[in-house]
């Protein structure tokens, strides 16, 4: 005798959902098992009850005709709509593309405008900085170096040299040594080794002293402002100083090569020219 059928197997048997082999086995068991036969009877009764209870629900008339018409109309509407979509696409494809492209382009323009705005703001800020910084340095230079002692341009530098030379001509002990000293401390120049080689006892002419003071002050001011100073401005400043140094060196060379020239001798290094001159 086989095992009794569980609830699910009995239901499956009843619903014809078992495999042929299991169906056969269940059928054999039900014929010999009183308990399972009773359970099957109960199942049949309950199923009959449920079927009759739901019969009213499921036997309600189905409005086939009305459904048919509704769904045909809906499907027709769907067809028309899809056809309309296709037609619309065919007719207005280019226009739609233009519109979509335009929207993209608008986005591009917007980003370009933003970039331009940023550029304009940066330009204004930079312009203001470049206006403010040179003016302050100029003011400082003008304050500290009244007259022509401003190492701003090559012309000014040469004028200074001429002035120094003319001043030296009027003085007893003209010297380029103090001039070389600041430049030497600033950075190694061609004039620096020569000036280092010469002796330290030098007398400054009055004009040269103010010029040296002006350069020293300008130098300290610029050093203190180095961080905020624009690189281009700094480069220009150093270039101007280099021009001044070169002019001084040229004058000294001229004095060396022409020891007999009184003008050059006057402007030359007094410590060297007297030494050479017996």
């Amino acid at each position: 005798m086989t095992r009794c059928l569980d609830e699910a197997t009995l239901q499956s048997y009843f619903d014809g959902e078992l495999s042929a082999q299991l169906m056969e086995r269940a059928s054999t068991h039900l014929a010999s098992c009183v308990t399972c036969a009773a359970a099957a009877r109960e199942l049949a009764e309950e199923t009959a009850l449920m079927t009759s209870a739901l019969a009213a629900e499921f036997e309600e008339t189905v409005p086939t005709q009305a459904l048919r018409e509704r769904i045909d109309a809906a499907v027709l509407g769907e067809r028309v709509a899809s056809a309309g979509r296709v037609e619309k696409l065919g007719l207005f494809a280019s226009l739609a593309n233009v519109f979509s492209f335009n929207s993209q382009r608008t986005l591009g323009y917007a980003s370009l405008a933003v970039v331009l705005a940023f550029g304009a703001i940066l330009a204004v800020v930079k312009f203001r900085q470049s206006q403010v910084q040179p003016s302050t340095t100029n003011i400082q230079a003008n304050v500290t170096t009244p007259g022509s002692n401003q190492p701003k341009t090559p012309e000014v530098g040469s004028n200074q040299n001429q002035q120094v030379a003319s001043n030296a001509g009027g003085s007893v002990a003209p010297s380029s040594r103090p001039v070389g000293k600041p430049t030497g401390t600033r950075r190694p120049s061609s004039a620096a080794p020569q000036t280092e080689a010469v002796s330290n006892h030098v007398k400054l002419i009055p004009g040269e002293r103010s010029y040296l003071q002006a350069i020293a002050r300008l130098d300290s001011t610029i050093k203190s402002n180095k961080t905020s100073m624009r690189p281009s401005l700094q480069v220009e400043y150093e270039r101007n100083l280099a021009v001044v140094d070169r002019a001084i060196a040229a004058t000294r060379n001229a004095a060396k090569s022409n020891p007999n020239d009184p003008d050059a001798a006057q402007s030359g290094n007094p410590s060297t020219s007297p030494g050479r001159r017996p």
């Binding site: 959902e17 009305a66 499907v75």
Partner: protein, 192 residues
């Protein structure tokens, strides 16, 4: 016993067994399955007009997805799965009006105004439907849906596909649902 079971199965209301082997056209699908769809929808939404809306939506989805729907053997399961989803969504959307409708029904049946308008036969049927629906309401998911689909004549496999369940669980679910229905329905007093 076996013969009795077969007879009971055959007595169940269903519209299966006529499916052709060739792939179904939309018209054939409608002809074969619109009853099952409509009845399932009406059993869920409890309203003929709403059930028509649901049926239309289900067949529109079939029309839109005709190339992607399963083969003929599983088409009914697919349709009823969609039907249950659409019907439940419809119920959610219509919950307020449904409450009003039910309340109206309650007062109408209590005062007997519906019976005055409708013939006695219709009234009895309506009462029978109401009792069965009340009993079904007491059965938990997914047993209730299992019973609904089983009563439509779906196989365990189709029920499993429609409800996203394991086929091996359907027998147990149907048995438990059937027992529960008998218990609740007997209590309500629908046993005739």
């Amino acid at each position: 016993m076996n013969g009795q079971a077969r007879a009971l199965i055959e007595s169940m209301p269903n519209d299966i067994g006529t499916e052709a082997v060739a792939p179904l056209s939309f018209d054939e699908a409608f002809t074969l399955h619109h009853r099952a769809v409509f009845r399932t929808a009406r059993a869920v939404v409890r309203d003929s007009a709403l059930a028509e809306d649901v049926t239309q939506e289900v067949f529109l989805r079939l029309y839109r997805n005709l190339h992607a729907t399963p083969g003929e053997d599983l088409l009914r399961a697919w349709l009823l799965r969609v039907t249950l989803n659409v019907a439940r969504n419809t119920l959610r959307g219509q919950s307020r009006s449904m409450v009003r409708d039910n309340e109206y029904h309650k007062t109408a049946t209590e005062s007997g105004s519906a019976a005055v308008e409708a013939p006695a036969e219709d009234y009895e049927r309506r009462m029978a439907i109401e009792e069965a629906r009340r009993a079904l309401d007491k059965i938990k998911e997914p047993m209730r849906s299992c019973l609904l689909l089983k009563q439509q004549g779906l196989s365990y496999r189709e029920i499993a596909i429609s409800l996203s369940l394991k086929e091996t669980n359907i027998g147990s679910l149907v048995a438990r649902g059937r027992k529960e229905f008998a218990r609740v329905y007997g209590k309500i007093g629908g046993r005739r």
